[in-house]
């Protein structure tokens, strides 16, 4: 079944994409659109499918709502920047956590996860909270590609963490199970990983280790405290396991969870002790050239009002889904944006909105491109080719007793690869059939773990959605400082020139100015990605068998 004409369509589309991207230097969104046209045309010639322009539009409409969320979230963030709120919160957090930078990073991870948890969208997490924390991390001395990897991972884990996990909901829809009982498994899947990922990525080892930093008293205390807390979590499970009666139904489950968590805890502790932190203590004064340290006294705390409003609105949305929920996330962002015009520095609304839209254009183009690409795959049958090969791999294996192993292997290969085109698509197209194929396993655990495996695709080509956006965010992270007042009065025509001039004359921070691409982020995140894949598969293999119905 490997050699089918659909493979040709898929290969031709990928080749078109890569050539346009690398040789013609086209933006990835536009390259995807062109490869979709190639796919649709080839299908029409060799398979007799319909050649109709409507497929381009219909494909992109799959992301209509996501695109609106991104534009409005970008405008919201531009508002926060212009009003001084981002600088305010940066200075505020840095001052609080200056002695405990690693704890600050854990707080950042949670912050990045939060929008993903509430909206179910990793992109919303990156463009909102990711954009807030990235500049501070860069100023802490963490290399940009690592910062990108941290926020991309935070966003992806936030997307998987409860209460809202869209890939799981998509699987539920396919296999007809209600979306309930997912909170505990999803917490077990995401939070231990989040801690490990941050500790691993925010530190250096070997060649890339920070040079001038040794191990001072401050770091030592932080390391000891962190390690003990982690050990405590693992010990709790051990105690629970030992204290539960022999015949208890969840005895084996506790043991499995203890082993899994302990493996991650050991990984985290190794990261803490063997890898060196980039920052032992944040010396606030050193940040004066890029952050206005007086801002906390210059502006009133209510400059943060828009931030609180958006949190309240999103909480209301999940508490009152049948009233506030019907407003839709884009409108919530717009509502929360309005106060930022009045609470801080003087803001030019037109400039801020056009700035937000300009920054989301490449994101929109990428999503539109992905939509067209998926539509072309579906129309030509390349999607079916993918699914049948993924599902039949375990069946064609020679020995029957190895069948389950093949099942895991095909999950580990096919689900992330298709996730590289679209994580939601992978969950619905492959996730559903795999849940049905793994008869006898707890459907809730399998769906949860599969959603995590699909989300790994957010780091993989051709679209590498989260990694691409994280790269964009860190590349743009350095202009946190609000634009000086005089630029506000500029009229729109001069605006573009002004903006480009600013980019050129951006202040040189301790790091050389380098353009981060998604591939740098994916490479940096390789170890955590492998750990994530292994963790999710172990969940399917062991936890799904013992989890109570």
């Amino acid at each position: 079944m490997i050699w089918e004409i659909e493979l040709l369509y898929f290969a031709a589309m990928i080749v078109t994409f890569v050539v346009l991207l690398l040789v013609a230097k086209m933006p990835s969104g536009l390259a995807l659109m062109c490869s979709a046209v190639v796919g649709i045309t080839l299908g029409a010639i060799f398979s007799g499918t319909e050649w109709n322009l409507r497929h381009l539009i219909e494909g992109s409409f799959g992301y209509f709502d996501t695109i609106l969320v991104i534009i409005t979230a970008m405008i919201f963030i531009a508002g926060l920047k212009a009003s001084g709120a981002i600088e305010y919160i940066s200075v505020f957090l840095v001052k609080i956590f200056k002695k405990a930078p690693t704890v600050l990073l854990l707080v950042f991870m949670l912050l990045v996860m939060l929008p993903g948890m509430i909206t179910g969208s990793s992109l919303a997490a990156i463009v909102s909270c990711g954009a807030i924390v990235a500049p501070i991390m860069i100023k802490m001395g963490i290399p940009k590609k690592k910062v990108g990897a941290i926020i991309a991972f935070g966003a992806v884990l936030g997307m998987i963490a409860p209460p809202i996990n869209v890939p799981v909901m998509v699987i539920c829809d396919v296999v007809d199970i209600p979306y309930s009982g997912f909170t505990a498994p999803l917490i077990c899947l995401t939070f231990p990983l989040a801690i490990f990922v941050v500790l691993w990525l925010s530190r250096g080892f070997g060649k890339e280790a920070p040079k001038r930093i040794g191990m001072n008293k401050n770091t030592l205390i932080e390391n000891i405290v962190l390690s003990s807390i982690l050990l405590l979590v693992s010990l709790t499970f051990l105690i629970l396991y030992l204290s539960s009666p022999k015949e208890a139904s969840n005895k084996k489950l506790l043991l499995v969870l203890f082993i899994l968590f302990t493996a991650l805890v050991i990984g985290s502790i190794l990261a803490v002790w063997l890898r060196k932190p980039y920052c032992e203590e944040i010396i606030v004064e050193e940040l004066a050239d890029s952050l206005n340290l007086e801002i906390t006294s210059e502006l009133k705390p209510y400059v943060l009002a828009p931030l609180f409003i958006i949190i309240i609105l999103f909480v209301l949305q999940s508490v009152l889904p049948r009233s506030v929920g019907l407003l839709g996330s884009p409108l919530l962002f717009v509502i929360a944006f309005i106060p930022s015009l009045f609470v801080g520095r003087k803001v030019n609304a037109f400039k801020v909105v056009s700035d937000g839209i300009a920054k989301s254009i490449s994101a929109m183009a990428l999503l539109i491109g992905v939509g067209m690409f998926v539509e072309a795959l579906t129309l030509t049958g390349a999607r079916g080719y993918f699914v049948i090969n993924a599902l039949s791999l375990p069946m064609t294996s020679m020995a029957n007793q190895w069948r389950y192993l093949w099942q895991y292997i095909s999950i580990a290969i096919a689900v992330p690869i298709f996730g590289g085109i679209s994580a939601f698509g992978s969950a619905s197209i492959l996730g559903g059939p795999f849940v049905m194929a793994l008869i006898g396993y707890n459907e809730i655990i399998v769906s949860s773990a599969l959603s995590l495996v699909a989300a790994i695709g957010e780091f993989l080509p051709p679209t590498a959605m989260s990694a691409t956006f994280a790269a964009k965010t860190v590349n743009e992270a350095l202009d946190v400082k609000a634009l000086p007042d005089e630029t506000i009065k500029e009229d729109s025509e001069e605006l573009d020139i002004k903006l480009s001039r600013e980019e050129v004359s951006q202040p040189e921070v301790s790091q050389p100015k380098e353009e981060i691409k998604y591939i740098h982020i994916t490479k940096t995140a390789l170890v955590p990605l492998i750990v994530t894949l292994a963790y999710a598969l172990l969940f399917i293999m062991f936890v799904a068998v013992h989890w109570p119905e």
């Binding site: 381009l56 909206t119 809202i164 869209v166 949305q317 839709g328 699914v387 059939p433």
Partner: protein, 452 residues
């Protein structure tokens, strides 16, 4: 060239040409979308009186029945003057008896439901009881295609005179024009959480609400129709992908379980030796108590109707399907990847990928129509006597018969039997026999020529 591309002028020219291309594509696609969106599918139905005679204890009596069209807005007023104000075709024998609602077109990407309802609409003769038929339950979903599913706009079936009857293949969900924005998560009135997309899925919106979302208003119209007319049996026609494990099946509300079991037995016993058909297999499932918003759960819970839902195996809906053309809708059995999956399954003889081989639209329609006929037969067998009605209640409830059950069973027994005739048979509708040889008739044979 490179210099030109990087210059301001070059930049503007490139941007403008991309914009121009985008505008041209949008206009062309917009026109074709508008045409599709406004296209009205033709259903043959002549309102007015019809006469029939029946044997009333030895004397032949002539009675006048009536065919009429009602609108959803009669039952859910807020749908008035909107796209979703669909037709409800009523064939009333004017003789007291039970009533049946056949629900087609809930999901426009599941065509056999709509076509089976159409076959029934254009052929059935009702001589006792009342027949309600809906061919486009979610009419708004017929005005657009589902993003990223790459479905054709239309497919056609040839009538016996060789004229094409055109049907639309729409989306699973209500059109964004009618319902937008959608929340990040859909919370059904029971508190159950589902994906945002299901906000626009009619078969997750029951029992519906008069002032709710557009889809809930449509669901409310159907629930209210059942309540106001005290409809005895409701059959919701669907299709599913061949890899879906609950397929070629009837899912029944617990009160309708005995009826479903009886219908399935009728189908197993269906025989047409001339065409090599010996039984049409169908499985029976009880509606899960935990899954809300679906007809077989909510209509059974919120109304007195006996709610059942049927599924057939539709390749054009499946994830494994190969190229998507309108031929796939009508001839699903030809799909390359499903054939391979079935071959592999047979050779390896282990886990299933495909639970029911995809079949032709004719077979799927034939199966639905046979199911409807079998349910009618089953109803007539079970509910015609008080004792049988008690018995079926006893079996499905695994409990003692209480007073309310007695009252309800009494009610069914008083209504008596359905008398609905002229329903095309399975072997007439399914024009390909077990060996793939073409037979004479087929679904098209039972469809009227379009008017023009």
């Amino acid at each position: 060239m490179k210099e030109f591309l990087n210059s301001k002028k070059g930049n503007i020219i490139i941007s403008c040409s991309i914009l121009l291309v985008a505008v041209i594509i949008t206009v062309i696609v917009g026109i074709s979308y508008k045409k599709f969106s406004n296209y009205q599918t033709y259903f043959y139905f002549q309102e007015g009186k019809y006469t029939y005679s029946y044997d009333d204890g030895g004397t032949l009596r002539e009675v006048e029945g009536e065919k009429s069209v009602q609108k959803f807005s009669q039952y859910s007023p807020k749908l008035k003057n909107t796209v979703g104000d669909a037709d409800i075709y009523v064939i009333d024998s004017k003789r007291e008896g039970p009533s049946l609602l056949v629900l087609g077109g809930t999901h426009p990407n599941e065509p056999s439901g709509q076509v089976a309802a159409t076959v029934l609409l254009e052929n059935a003769v009702v001589t006792r009881g009342k027949l309600f038929i809906i061919t486009e339950a979610n009419k708004s979903a017929y005005t657009h295609s589902h993003p990223q599913e790459a479905s054709p706009y239309y497919y056609s079936i040839k009538t016996k005179n060789g004229v094409e009857r055109i049907f639309k293949f729409g989306s699973r969900a209500t059109n964004t024009n009618e319902q937008w924005p959608v929340p990040d998560i859909y919370v059904h009135s029971s508190g159950q959480k589902l994906t945002a997309n299901d906000t626009k899925n009619l078969n997750r919106a029951y029992p519906g609400s008069e002032n709710g979302t557009y889809t809930e208003r449509v669901a409310y119209a159907i629930t209210n129709l059942i309540k106001e007319n005290d409809i005895t049996v409701t059959i919701d026609l669907h299709e599913a992908s061949p890899e879906y494990n609950n397929i070629n099946s009837v899912t029944a509300h617990q009160r309708a379980l005995a009826l479903a079991a009886n219908a399935s037995l009728n189908m197993e016993l269906y025989m047409d030796i001339a065409n090599g058909i010996d039984g049409v297999g169908i499985s029976v499932n009880e509606s899960p108590f935990t899954l809300h918003g679906l007809t077989h759960r909510e209509l059974g819970d919120y109304t007195n109707t006996l709610a059942l839902l049927c599924e057939t195996s539709n390749a054009s809906q499946g994830k494994l399907r190969g190229k998507f053309t309108s031929d796939l809708i009508v001839n699903g059995q030809h799909d390359k990847f499903y054939q391979k999956a079935l071959e592999l399954q047979e050779r390896e003889n282990n886990d299933k990928i495909v639970y029911a081989a995809p079949t032709t639209l004719d077979e799927r329609v034939a199966r639905h129509v046979l199911t409807i006929e079998s349910i009618i037969k089953g109803y007539n067998a079970i509910y015609n006597t008080l004792d049988n009605a008690y018995q079926s209640y006893y079996e499905t409830h695994e409990a003692k018969i209480d007073e309310s059950m007695k009252l309800e069973a009494d009610h069914y027994a008083k209504l008596g039997k359905f008398e609905i005739s002229n329903i095309p048979s399975y072997s007439d509708l399914n024009n390909v026999d077990a060996d793939g040889n073409s037979l004479n008739k087929g679904v098209g044979y039972f469809l009227h020529d379009p008017l023009n």
